[in-house]
């Protein structure tokens, strides 16, 4: 039987903050301290480009939140894989300043009733921007928690009226070696291409992001428009998108083309299917700053099993990795 004697120093039940206000307060503090931090951090610590960011007005809180601690702005914007600017984690924040994100247009083509070249402003018109706090799991076994600003990919795709033949959505990153010096070397087959099955693209979790931490995306994070599919390894969330093509055939995606035995089309986060060279069972959460912080267990579909597991019902995820 559980009878607990109250220790005089224990808080009275009336003094205990209820869970909801605790989390709301915590989130508010996190967001505000981060916003303040972003303003106070000296330029040389972040990067010049990160500071050109402007604050979004009218961003509404979105669904699928998490109570996990946000990864600090500085880490989110200085530890990046964006090979278009170099293969070291610090290269993107150093060199992405050369990317021109204005004006920006996106070509929409393939199996749609309304193809065309759309200006970014037109794409954003009437799209309610939302805060989406997502876990981000890199295939290299590190992870972050990032407050994106974005909108539903499904809503945008519907606007182009996909035909009945549209089975896949293919995205392409800008190819411009002058602005993206990393493209001068053939580390990967350029331009970078990623793709989703249409039902994956239509899942409410999938968003196109235009910002993070309430501000426009820094170039190194894929400005001005990037995909975020949080149940998949980070490389699926393609950056600086200039083309969206709807296709009947499964597109060949960049990492799959570069090393087909290591990176599949689906690339769903899966602790039971290891990368051929390293384990995917656990991950290192970026942002603790401590060298003694332990790894954390990787979750199936990066913890979004409830939202996306039905997309893969009956599929062998070992084969379709």
């Amino acid at each position: 039987m559980l009878i607990r004697k109250r220790n005089p120093s224990d808080p009275k039940p009336s003094e205990i903050t209820d869970r909801k206000s605790f989390h709301e307060r915590r989130r508010f503090l996190q967001m505000s301290s981060v916003a303040a931090g972003a303003m106070l951090v000296p330029g040389w610590l972040v990067s010049e480009k990160a500071h050109a960011a402007t604050k979004f007005q009218d961003v509404k809180p979105g669904p699928f939140g998490t109570d996990e601690k946000l990864t600090p702005y500085k880490d989110v914007t200085t530890y990046n894989n964006f090979y278009e600017f170099g293969t070291s984690k610090s290269d993107p924040s150093r060199y992405a300043g050369s990317l021109k994100t204005q004006p920006w247009s996106v070509v929409v083509e393939g199996e749609v009733a309304k193809p065309g070249r759309y200006q970014l402003e037109d794409l954003l018109k009437g799209r309610g921007l939302q805060d989406r706090i997502y876990r981000h799991r890199c295939v290299e076994a590190w992870s972050m928690v990032i407050p994106w600003v974005g909108f539903s990919l499904a809503d945008l795709l519907k606007r182009f009226e996909p035909t009945s033949k549209a089975k896949y959505v293919e995205f392409t990153t800008l190819y411009n070696p002058k602005q993206m010096p990393g493209q001068r070397r053939a580390v990967l087959p350029w331009p970078y291409v990623e793709a989703l099955r249409i039902d994956e693209a239509m899942n409410p979790l999938a968003i196109l992001a235009v910002g993070l931490y309430g501000e426009t995306l820094p170039n190194q994070n894929g400005a001005p428009l990037r995909l975020v599919v949080p149940w998949k390894y980070g490389f699926k969330s393609i950056k600086s998108i200039v083309k969206i093509r709807l296709t009947e055939q499964q597109p060949r995606t960049t990492w799959d083309a570069a090393a087909p035995n290591e990176y599949g089309f689906y690339a769903n986060v899966n602790p039971h299917v290891d990368h051929p060279r390293w384990s995917q069972a656990s991950e290192r959460r970026i942002g603790s700053g401590s060298i003694f912080a332990p790894r954390i267990k990787t979750r199936m579909f990066n913890g979004y099993e409830k939202e996306v597991a039905q997309l893969y019902a009956g599929m062998d995820l070992r084969k379709n990795f």
Partner: protein
């Protein structure tokens, strides 16, 4: 110049190099203390200790070619210490991996060593360094005699394994491991060439024979 003077110079040289070899460690410790290791500090520690192990292996392998080309003998006097520093940084690398990265989860360490080829290779290199470190004393050198030199040729294999370990863990950009591969190939190629020339029927003016051969 007396014998004592010469001894003093060698001593000073040894101490200076010893201190120099500790500089990477000091910077590492300073960066830990000031939290200056970036977003992924454990990964940074792994990469830096690994890189320094490879660099020390390269330096050790460069000693004999440098001596043969320049005629200097003093690098030979430093070789043992440099080799032990390679071992020291390799141990730090392994310690960061087991203690900080995997938090002494030995079943994970074991699975990695068996299942992940790049870790198998890296671990093999570390294990092979052990007998070299253990037999690095004067006493062991005397005791092993000719066999000592043979045993210590293992360092060639260790350096190759080290480069393979690096090459296999890289995702797409293999430039840096390829640079190490190039340097190690050159240093080992130099020895092979020397060996082959030594075996060839001696030409009449066999100048290379006038230099004392050295197995290192």
């Amino acid at each position: 110049m007396g014998r004592v003077d010469k001894l003093m110079t060698l001593r000073t040289l040894k101490i200076s190099v010893f201190v120099l070899c500790l500089v990477p460690l000091s910077i590492l410790l300073w960066d830990i203390y000031t939290a200056n290791l970036g977003a992924n500090p454990v990964e940074a520690l792994l990469h830096r200790t690994g890189s320094w192990t490879l660099r020390f292996l390269v330096i050790v392998l460069a000693v004999t070619p440098i001596k043969r080309v320049s005629g200097w003998t003093w690098p030979l006097r430093l070789r043992r210490m440099l080799g032990l520093f390679a071992f020291f940084y390799a141990c730090l690398h392994f310690l960061v991996y087991t203690l900080l990265d995997l938090q002494l989860d030995w079943s994970h360490v074991g699975a990695d060593i068996v299942k992940r080829p790049y870790i198998t290779v890296g671990f093999t290199a570390l294990v092979l360094l052990l007998p070299l470190a253990v037999t690095s004393t004067n006493k062991m050198m005397r005791r092993l005699g000719r066999r000592w030199k043979k045993l210590h040729r293992l360092v060639y294999l260790i350096a190759v394994l080290g480069v393979v370990h690096f090459y296999w863990l890289v995702k797409a950009d293999v430039r840096e491991p390829l640079i190490y591969a190039g340097i190690v190939s050159a240093l080992l190629g130099f020895r092979l060439l020397h060996y082959l020339r030594g075996r060839a029927p001696a030409p009449r003016l066999a100048t290379n024979k006038s230099l004392p051969t050295d197995g290192g």
